[in-house]
């Protein structure tokens, strides 16, 4: 049963620290998405890749967030420096033929 995996599942850090979240998409999927979920904003798209190339990262604060896909089995989302308003659940999803499958999420708390 193929699944999207994300690490870590939980992260507590202090303001100003760097945070790196990792995602392993489902093998064979050609699109990867990063979403953020908060109570206030709901689910928001941060960035997405097709065939490892970034297509749209307009949802990300460019000054502190970066998303990369160094190879087909790994996507990363980095926040540097982190701020309390970044506290949220970050989901990675991978997709093929217009259907997306979500990972379990990383719950980030920035103190």
């Amino acid at each position: 049963d193929a699944r999207v995996t994300q690490t870590p599942r939980h992260k507590v850090t202090e303001m100003g620290q760097e945070v790196t979240m990792r995602c392993q998409p489902i093998l064979g999927h050609n699109t990867v998405f990063w979403y953020r979920q908060t109570m206030m904003q709901g689910l928001e798209l941060l960035a997405y890749f097709r065939n490892r190339a970034p297509l749209d990262d307009s949802g990300m604060p460019k000054d502190r967030f970066s998303a990369e896909m160094p190879d087909a089995t790994l996507a990363t989302l980095k926040i540097q420096p982190s701020e309390p308003r970044d506290s949220a659940v970050y989901f990675c999803a991978s997709g093929i033929r217009d259907t997306q499958y979500f990972g379990p999420g990383t719950r980030l708390t920035v103190l």
Binding site: F33, G95, D98, F102
Partner: protein
Amino acid sequence: GIQVEQSPPDLILQEGANSTLRCNFSDSVNNLQWFHQNPWGQLINLFYIPSGTKQNGRLSATTVATERYSLLYISSSQTTDSGVYFCAVVSGTSYGKLTFGQGTILTVHP
């Protein structure tokens, strides 16, 4: 961008009851998915349904693309159906980018 509205925002049911959740969208779509977010936060695909009707056990969904809405039917609800149901759409040339509605919070009491 496209707007996605879901109703009702909250729904409370007794086990065994049936329910209908609605999703309206403001523009034509290439893709529409229904998700269930369980109490542990996991987002689970229910249906990929840009048009037509599909059924999976006690759940079924219908999308009328020309009228810009989709319905999710839950029959004989169970406590495990509790959670948040999201509708998400892809419009135009957005390359698979999903826009989510705000969700319907479903609570099923035993």
